[in-house]
């Protein structure tokens, strides 16, 4: 039984790995096919799918099959950069099938902030576009993100509504998608402002995550600071030795 338990988890993880990236509503192969693919008994597949259904990653319709369940953004990852970068640190919401939504706290152009200018490698006085968002998972706050981009390369950025549009989609459409990252992660304490938005007591621990992203022309296109709820997330990565 111990062996079985480990086995179904391994199969579950492989299903997530192989099909987690599929679109919402897409049908994944049937139990028989999966059993053959992973060379396990059909009962193991059945059990793994049942668990995935409980976690909300798939839904099953009797007689029709198993379908991917997700919302517009990847349900598992609240840190788009990591998915794109594909080898960064990724913040994973601990349960699958969570519905991510954003609330824009503030956005607009800032000039004359030397700290942000130096993070973005800008000349003194060059405008910075700021986007402050709270990210919710199933209507509970998960993270507060302060993102800054050089305004000069995104001239029409002020016209967008980032509660509806994904920042990365917009940056991608403009040909300045961040591709490589410098990421730092710490555990810190919540200050009153972040505590209020994350609906936690001041001084509670929080992940503090900072990243600088560069585009294909090696230009810094993003600087982000985020405070992420520790109780709902974990960070994963692969380290080379």
């Amino acid at each position: 039984m111990a062996r079985e338990k480990g086995l179904y988890k391994r199969i579950r993880d492989r299903i997530v790995e192989d099909y987690g990236g599929w679109l919402d509503g897409e049908a994944i192969p049937g139990e028989r096919e999966l059993a053959a693919k992973y060379d396990v008994k059909r009962s193991t597949i059945k059990y793994a799918l049942k668990k995935l259904e409980e976690q909300g990653m798939v839904y099953r319709i009797r007689g029709k099959g198993t379908f991917i369940h997700k919302n517009k953004e990847s349900p598992m990852d609240i840190n788009g950069a990591a998915v794109q970068g594909n080898k960064g640190i990724s913040a994973l919401v601990r349960s699958y099938g969570i519905k991510i939504s954003n609330v824009v706290l503030a956005c607009g152009t800032i000039t004359g902030n030397r700290f942000l200018e130096s993070k973005l490698d800008l000349q003194e006085g060059e405008p910075v576009f700021a986007l402050h968002r709270v990210r919710y998972g199933n209507d509970e706050p998960l993270a507060i993100e302060y993102t800054y981009v050089p305004k000069s390369i995104f001239p029409d950025i002020e016209e967008l509504d980032f509660s509806m549009v994904s920042l990365y989609d917009y940056m991608d459409a403009n040909g300045h998608m961040p591709e490589k990252f410098d990421q730092v992660l710490r555990v810190t304490r919540l200050s009153p402002k972040e505590a209020r938005y994350l609906e936690l007591p001041v001084d509670d621990p929080s992940f503090y995550f900072e990243l600088i992203g560069i585009d294909s022309e090696r230009r810094i296109v993003e600087y982000t600071e985020s405070y992420i709820r520790c109780d709902k997330t974990e960070f994963k990565f692969t380290a080379r030795i």
Binding site: I89, C107, R114, A130, K180, V187, S191, A239, R240, I241
Partner: protein
């Protein structure tokens, strides 16, 4: 009127952080008084106090009762693109590393270890527990489980006062190449609190990883808990 994007205290906290990054305020330096800063920035003392508080919470400053704020000691950086031993990461910022072996035994995996490693319950492994110090300050409790079949005859002497990776390389010809790792936040257990000299339920970082060798074999599972204020993790994919 346009909505405010950065409040005055946030602006000031960033300006102070910039001075720290620029080394105009050095590691361990005491910050000017609230009054002096208030005058310098042309704001109320309350605003300065909030700005300092932001940086204290962020771990950039440390506050000492009746003495004011100081620039926090440098954090030990775990560079994930250039994965070094903990010892080297500590020495890299000019501190001394020391590890005290607390326990060394061979055990058979129970349910929890079996779940973590995906190996069957009953698999034999060497269990090593160490307390790590940086400059005589307890920093982390390190637990390591080495799959016994890959390291037959591993002894306490092999791991005491020696780096595990060099023992593996020299004695067992195992070269470690990659590691799947996970970070979560936990609270100190009684034992961890005592060892690390923190309060019970103090937030700690739990740093776990499965380490593989060149042949893709799982060699080690490590499960460390670290004090939050002394470390940071970094991964940089450009120069």
């Amino acid at each position: 009127m346009r909505r405010r994007i950065l409040f005055k205290d946030e602006e000031i906290s960033r300006e102070l952080e910039r001075r720290i990054i620029d080394q105009r305020l050095k590691e361990g330096a005491r910050l000017p008084s609230e009054r002096a800063l208030a005058e310098d920035f042309g704001v109320q003392r309350d605003t300065v106090r909030c700005a300092l508080e932001i940086l204290v919470k962020k771990g950039v400053l440390v506050k000492r009762t009746r003495q004011g704020c100081f620039v926090a000691p440098k954090r030990i950086e775990f560079d994930l693109n250039n994965f070094r031993s903990v010892k080297k990461s500590i020495e890299n910022i000019g501190r001394e590393s020391k590890a005290v072996l607390l326990n060394f035994e061979i055990l058979s995996m129970g349910e929890k270890l079996s779940e973590k490693t995906l190996l069957p319950e009953g698999t034999l492994c060497y269990s090593i527990m160490r307390l790590r110090y940086e400059n005589d300050r307890a920093m982390s409790v390190e637990r390591s489980y080495i799959i016994a079949e890959h390291v037959p005859g591993l002894t306490q002497q092999d791991v005491d006062q020696k780096s595990l990776s060099s023992t593996l390389r020299q004695k067992f010809r195992i070269s470690l190449v990659s590691s799947h790792q996970r970070l979560t936040q936990v609270y100190a257990t009684d034992m961890e609190a005592e060892l690390l000299k923190v309060k019970k339920d103090e937030p700690l970082i739990r740093y776990e990883g499965l380490v593989y060798d060149r042949k893709g074999r799982l060699i080690e599972f490590f499960d460390n808990v670290l004090k939050t204020d002394s470390i940071e993790f970094r991964i940089k994919d450009f120069a």
